[in-house]
Subunit: 201 residues, 3 copies
């Protein structure tokens, strides 16, 4: 039940990040909402399709869509008046990433995926919405270029699996993994950490 | 049965719009046909995947693909000689949008989706092919930027649901909803109506 | 069993081509691996989703992902030191295209698709990873623009179906079809063959 509220908080945050990405891209209001919806549900939808989990999480429960649209409208109203609260949003986005990455990993575990695939599936759940957001607004996905993003998800999920293998109960491992994702992400932003960029010799 | 012929007309129209979008983008003939196919089947394929309807509508019925390819080739042949019949195509595209939006809504209703999700699913069915078309040809989707497009689908589907709630039989509600989509779309084009563009203050 | 090793070889080749496409696009190392993974599994994943084949081919078998990541890392290490072995990679890519196209066609046949859809499904399996690769790196897909690529897949699968209709056993038809794909592709590169580009009159 707690996870369900976490999930709603996660889609709300990703919806706001979709709205911010859509600024100044010459989209109309509804276009902005479409980008927000795709950012928020993209990762979980891909996860459910790949794992053959039906109904898809938002298909029979209106609350996800209601929360996403409300969050998008509030964000639109806010940024028309004030500069976006960047720091708050980065923290919220890190929480969303951690949450989706770990919950995606749990679903993959429940579907009997081997550990490496659990890591992949959790990472995809965490980052795919942001990739969609950037592809639709015709940018090379930020996630693939900046700071420790997918990396944070991979390390957090790996910790989650390692702790479980050592006998830690799932809830504790989940909390530890998610905390690692959030901490890595925020430290990377704070100190401007990046993986080396790949260029040809 | 009538709906089946409507459906074939819908994919034919979207195929032609895919060909027109692919002009002057340095694609070869087969690339143009690929874009036409993705534009025509994109929305319905996403709908079937999300609702877990298998086989996907075109997977066991060759007629969709035959109609799409024939329409694409005719459009190619036509526009190599004459300027594209823009007005005709806009009317046809409005009909295609209305048809796919309402039929997508009906499938979502049949899958027990709540009303808000019915609206989302119908709208996605109507507009996703066009989004794919624009993403592949590396443009920010027109649908998210111009005139009343997804808006028309949303209002038409809402009318369809409202009329059914008032006791109107499905066929009548379908016709009314589809007419509203087409009318809104054509009026928006005629009068240059747009939703306000979203820019930061 | 042989097909399984072919398949692993196919994803390895596509992974390398993903890494090469991601060069100089300002991606970090993990971003490059993400592009490699999407290029390698994109076509087969779409095939499995559309044909409702679960589990998706890589979801319960870690070897695909291991091979893809190893191939991506080797390619990164190689091209940081030496110029990429273009000729070798083009041959390998042609083999990968032929293999995926024909195996996609076989799966579609097993799912009772009519012949035209078998051709479409095989072609999509062969080319979709490359389309994803180009969309993510924000380019108009090369596959839609250059030389005989999807065309080679279409003709090879058609040969495969024709030979089977004439009574040739599947394995022989598979080999002939795949050989035709590879031969067409390599001849097209060698002689710079292109389909005519589509421009408006």
């Amino acid at each position: 039940m707690l996870l369900y509220y976490f999930d709603l908080a996660g889609v709300a945050v990703f919806s706001a990040s979709g709205v911010l990405a859509a600024r100044d891209r010459d989209l109309d209001l509804l276009g902005v909402i479409v980008v927000a919806v795709m950012t928020a549900i993209g990762g979980g939808t891909l996860r459910d399709l790949l794992l053959d989990r039906h109904p898809i999480f938002w298909v029979t429960d209106s609350w996800y869509l209601i929360v996403i649209i409300a969050s998008a409208l509030l964000t639109v109203a806010y940024v028309r008046r004030w500069p976006p609260p960047v720091a708050t949003l980065l923290v919220a986005d890190a929480l969303g990433l951690g949450l989706f990455a770990l919950s995606g990993a749990q679903f993959a575990e429940a579907a009997q995926c081997p550990p490496l695939i659990v890591v992949l599936m959790g990472t995809m759940t965490g980052v795919f919405g942001g990739i969609l957001r950037d592809v639709i607004t015709a940018q090379i996905p930020l996630i693939l270029r900046r700071e420790i993003y997918a990396t944070a998800a991979i390390l957090g999920i790996s910790l989650y699996l390692a702790l479980q293998a050592l006998g830690v109960p799932p809830a504790g491992a989940f909390g530890a993994g998610m905390s690692l994702v959030v901490a890595l992400r925020l430290l990377a932003i704070r100190w401007g950490l990046n993986l080396p960029v790949f260029r040809q010799s």
